[in-house]
């Protein structure tokens, strides 16, 4: 957690976890979808479920999904903006197992029919952690350029991906590996110190055994 996570963000009130953090979860989800969603389903867990409406958590998540940052003065009117754009928004509560008290599950669809499910937790002070993407554990903050590589659980894929990054002189900050079952579906979550060029993402996606590559850089406009 850096100094500006402690002092900051500059944000629209009233709650850094329930408003600013929620905007950020929505924003990262939009980046992961790589499009403006046309359909938004929000499920709130824990304290988000208990006090989310009063804090404008639903408005904040939608604001982020619309591409707003936590200091955007339009956050309070995000639901109306979504409606005027013809985006469908539904919000309910859910009980998730072993989840952080401030957790939201977002299910979104893009105009070209792609869908995405993101579970994100708001850790306080506006910081967040994306817990899972499409049901697979993810565990990243969005504070670094992040690569999420989904592959079949076979030997060699980690080497292929890290070698590609090494050739581009990209330094890895963190690397996590998860899989559902042996030989099943696996996921690598790689946080880098510098942005990853789009050619590298395309190249990785073309490798046999690599099922899907998602790249998110929250800082990029």
């Amino acid at each position: 957690m850096n100094l500006f996570d402690i002092l900051g963000p500059i944000m629209v009130g009233p709650s850094s976890s329930h408003t600013a953090g929620a905007v950020r979860i929505g924003y990262i989800t939009r980046k992961l979808l790589r499009a403006e969603p046309v359909e938004i389903t929000i499920k709130l867990h824990g304290s988000f479920a208990a006090t989310g409406t009063g804090h404008g958590t639903d408005r904040a998540l939608v604001a982020g999904l619309l591409g707003m940052r936590p200091d955007d003065m339009q956050i309070p009117s995000s639901l109306e903006i979504a409606r005027s754009k013809g985006i469908s928004v539904s919000c309910s509560t859910v009980k998730l197992r072993d989840a952080h008290p401030n957790t939201a599950m977002l299910q979104v669809k893009s105009a070209d029919g792609r869908s995405l499910e993101v579970v994100g937790a708001s850790l306080g002070g506006g910081r967040v952690r994306i817990e899972s993407v499409d049901g697979l554990e993810a565990n990243f903050s969005g504070e670094y350029p992040t690569l999420i590589v989904r592959n079949t659980d076979q030997p060699g894929h980690v080497a292929e991906v890290t070698t590609t990054l090494a050739q581009l002189k990209l330094n890895i900050a963190t690397l996590q590996l998860y899989r559902d079952t042996r030989g099943g579906s696996a996921v690598m979550v790689i946080e880098c110190d510098t942005p990853i060029p789009s050619q590298a993402v395309t190249w990785l996606e073309s490798l046999p055994g690599i099922l899907k590559v998602t790249y998110v850089n929250v800082e990029e406009a």
């Binding site: 002092l7 900051g8 850094s16 304290s47 008290p101 306080g124």
Partner: protein, 289 residues
């Protein structure tokens, strides 16, 4: 490198580099920022605090109708204040900032939005009284942030996790350290001030009425600011915390873990659960689900 103990900060202060600069350098390196960019950002935080205070509107009300206008009431009364005008201004500043937040205005989370009033409440009147340069105020923010970083790493800074002690308590500890810095105190005195402030607010629960960051959050910023002032003065007077700051922070975490969910930002316990608290929630149609 993020700081994980107050001891680390005290060790760093033994170096010839001023502590605020060492803190900035360490953080800028970790984030890949230039020092100019870091300073520019921190100055941005300070200016945003000042503009939030300047743009305060006494007429603004939160959408619930529960909050607004108290900052102005306190300012109008300031000259008659029991603790003198400076104290009244600190109270007024804390209320103003808390009200701006509740009215969905732009504020600086320090460390959170709910506790956004504590640091500006002590820093803005301090600068007015002493004519301190903006540059020095920005240095004080680096100190505050580093103390906050240790609190966040050893405990937490979210009401939903640790109760209000993790928000207003953490802010008070950070503000106390910043005040000691502004008065030219040693890092050891900053550590004692932080320990005393946080220790005095240990156990503070998070019980927002109707789940809104309004009642009692806005006025709790006042007690945070008061704790910061008194703890800084005690530390500057040479009074020490018998329990070292790192251990106080660890205790805060333990107390936070022991708090039932009803007292951690769920709007189900404490003042939120009183008959009047529940009545307000019912009237606003914001009963906890």
């Amino acid at each position: 490198m993020a700081f994980t103990s107050i001891e680390q900060l005290e060790a760093l202060a033994a170096q010839p580099t001023p502590l605020w600069r060492a803190i900035m350098t360490a953080d800028a390196r970790e984030q890949g920022l230039s020092e100019e960019e870091s300073l520019r950002r921190m100055n941005g935080m300070w200016q945003a605090m000042r503009s939030a205070s300047r743009d305060y509107s006494a007429a603004a009300r939160s959408s619930s109708g529960l909050s607004g206008g108290d900052g102005q009431r306190m300012l109008d009364y300031a000259a008659c204040g029991i603790g003198g005008e400076f104290f009244s201004q600190v109270i007024a500043e804390a209320l103003k900032m808390g009200e701006c937040n509740a009215c969905m205005k732009r504020i600086v989370a320090a460390p959170t939005a709910g506790s956004c009033g504590v640091l500006p409440a002590v820093l803005i009147p301090f600068q007015q009284k002493h004519g301190t340069q903006d540059e020095t105020m920005v240095h004080a923010l680096y100190l505050a942030a580093a103390f906050g970083q240790v609190i966040a790493s050893r405990a937490c800074i979210a009401g939903a996790e640790g109760g209000c002690q993790a928000e207003v308590g953490a802010a008070a500890g950070m503000a106390a350290a910043a005040l000691v810095f502004l008065k030219g105190g040693t890092v050891s005195a900053m550590a004692h001030a932080c320990a005393i402030a946080l220790g005095n607010l240990l156990g503070l629960v998070c019980d927002p009425v109707a789940g809104l960051v309004e009642v009692p959050c806005i006025k709790r910023n006042v007690i945070g600011a008061m704790a910061a002032l008194s703890s800084a003065d005690m530390a500057l007077a040479g009074i020490t915390s018998r329990i070292p700051a790192d251990e106080v922070i660890d205790a805060m975490r333990e107390v936070g873990d022991a708090l039932p969910a009803s007292l951690r930002e769920t709007g189900r316990g404490g003042l939120a659960a009183t008959p009047t608290g529940q009545k307000i929630a019912r009237q606003l149609n914001l009963e906890p689900k």
